[in-house]
Symmetry: C2
Subunit: 271 residues, 2 copies
C-alpha cells in the first residue's frame, strides 16, 4: 500500500539523460512514462539523436549544453567514462541530482564535481533489441544525502516494484554475483549453441531445459537444484564428454574447471 501511495504521490520530474546505450535506453524509456525527459547527451552524437527521437525530446551535442534546471541527471555510460563525465558536468553549475547506473562504481566518483549525487542501479541484462518491463527489475539505491536517497527511491518506485538501498560495497558484490548469474551463464549458452550448430541440431530444443533450470530456483536454492554427471561423479559420461571436446580447448577447459568445482562444492554432501 505504501508503495502505491508513494507511486501516485511522486510528482513528474525533469530529467536529463547522459548516455545512449542499453541501460540508458531502457531506463529512460520507462522513466519517460512518468516524468519529463528534457534532453539527451551521449559521447556518440548519432546514438544520442536516436534515443532523443525515441523519447520525443532533444539531443545536445555538447555536454555543457545540457539544461541546468533538470531535477535528475540520469547517467548511464561505460564505467570507464564516468570519471570524465563527472568532471565535465561540474561546468553546468546545477543543483540537480546526479546518479549513475553502474554496479561496480562507487558513488564517490561524483565527489568534488557536483553537490548532490547518488546511484540508481538496475540489476538486469538489457539488450536494445528486446523490449522489457522494468517492474520486476530490482533497483539498488544510494545517495550522499538521505533526502536524495528518499527521492531516488520514490523515482525508482514509479518504474519498479523492487527497490532496495545498497551501499557501494554491497552493490559491487551484487554486480559481481550478477556477472556469474547472467553474463557467464549466457556465455555457457553460447558454447552450447556453438556445439549444436556444428551438427545442425536446434538450440531451440534447449529452451525448456534452460527455462526449468532457472525456474527451479523459485523452489530450491541452487546448491540443492544441482544435477548432472559431475554431481553423480559419473566417470564414464565425463570421460566421453571430454573425449568429444578433445579438439576444443576452450570448451574442454570450461568443462573441466566447472565439473571439478561442482564436485568440490558438493564433496561433503551425501546427495
Amino acid at each position: 500500500m505504501l508503495q502505491n501511495q508513494t507511486h501516485t504521490e511522486t510528482e513528474a520530474l525533469k530529467i536529463a539523460v547522459i548516455g545512449s546505450g542499453n541501460v540508458a535506453t531502457h531506463v529512460a524509456k520507462a522513466l519517460s512514462l512518468h516524468h519529463t525527459i528534457l534532453a539527451v547527451w551521449s559521447p556518440n552524437p548519432q546514438h544520442a539523436s536516436r534515443l532523443a527521437r525515441l523519447l520525443q525530446t532533444q539531443s545536445v551535442t555538447d555536454i555543457s549544453k545540457l539544461p541546468a534546471h533538470a531535477d535528475l541527471y540520469l547517467t548511464a555510460v561505460k564505467d570507464d567514462a564516468l570519471a570524465e563525465v563527472a568532471r565535465q558536468v561540474a561546468s553546468l553549475h546545477t543543483n540537480g541530482l546526479f546518479v549513475h547506473t553502474a554496479g561496480s562504481v562507487p558513488q564517490t566518483i561524483w565527489e568534488g564535481h557536483v553537490n548532490r549525487y547518488g546511484v540508481f542501479y538496475p540489476m538486469q541484462t538489457f539488450s536494445k533489441q528486446k523490449e522489457m518491463d522494468l517492474q520486476e527489475v530490482p533497483f539498488f539505491i544510494e545517495a550522499k544525502h538521505a533526502d536524495d536517497a528518499q527521492l531516488l527511491t520514490q523515482i525508482a518506485r514509479t518504474i519498479s516494484h523492487r527497490v532496495y538501498p545498497a551501499t557501494s560495497e554491497q552493490r559491487k558484490k551484487l554486480h559481481l554475483a550478477a556477472v556469474f548469474c547472467c553474463n557467464f551463464t549466457n556465455y555457457l549458452y553460447t558454447l552450447a549453441a556453438d556445439l549444436l550448430h556444428e551438427d545442425g541440431l536446434p538450440f531451440d530444443a534447449f529452451l525448456p531445459l534452460i527455462r526449468e533450470t532457472s525456474d527451479k530456483l523459485h523452489q530450491l536454492p541452487p546448491y540443492e537444484a544441482q544435477t548432472g554427471p559431475a554431481l553423480r561423479n559419473d566417470r564414464t559420461v565425463i570421460e566421453a564428454h571430454l573425449q568429444a571436446l578433445a579438439d576444443k580447448p576452450q570448451l574442454k577447459a570450461v568443462y573441466e574447471l566447472l565439473s571439478a568445482g561442482i564436485q568440490q562444492r558438493h564433496a561433503s554432501s551425501t546427495d
Copy 2:
C-alpha cells in the same frame, strides 16, 4: 492435429520401471496417467518401494522377478549401472521393448541381451522435490527396429508435445550441450549465492535477472544476447572483480576463464 490423433489412438501399455531416481520418478509418474505400471525394481529396494507406492503399484526386490509380459521396460538408472542391468534382464526372456533414458549411452548397450531395444531420452533437469509438467520437455527417441521407434514416438507423445528422433551420436552431443546449459549454469548460480550469502545479501533478488537471461533466448541467439564487463572489455570493473575474488581461487579461476572466453568468442565482432 496428427499429434493429437496419435495421442488418443495410443492404447494403454503395460510398463515395468527399472530405477527409482529423479528421471524414473518423473517419467514413470507422467506415463502412469496413460498407461499401466506393472512393477518397479531398483538397485535401492527402499527407493523402489517408495516409487511403487507413489505409482500405486508393486515393487520387486529381485530384477529377475519383474513381470515378463510388460510391453515396455523403462530403465532409468545411473549410466554406469546400465550394462549390468542389460546383462541381468536377459534372464527375463521377454519380448518386451527395453529403453534407457540416458543422454550419453548408445542404444547398443542392450545388444546381445534383449531383442527389442531403444532410447527414450527426456532432455530436462529433474529434481525429486519439484513437480514438473513434461509436456514441454523434449524427448529424443531411437530404436533398433523402425516399428519400435514408431511405438516409442507414440508413447512419448502421450506425455510431451516435443518428440524428436536422434541417433546415439546426436544424443551424446545434445547431452553434452545440456550439461553446459543446465548443470554448469546451475553451478554458477551456486557460486553467486555463496558470494551473496557471505554478505547477507538475498539471492531472491537475482531471480528476475536469471529469468530474463533465459527468457532473452526466445528472441535472441545467446551470442547476440551477451552483455557484461568482459564483452565491453571494461578493465576497471574486471580488475575490481578479480580483486574482490583474490581469496577465492575457484571463483577467480572461473571468472578469468569465462571472461577470457567471452572476449575471445566476440573478438571478431564489432558490438
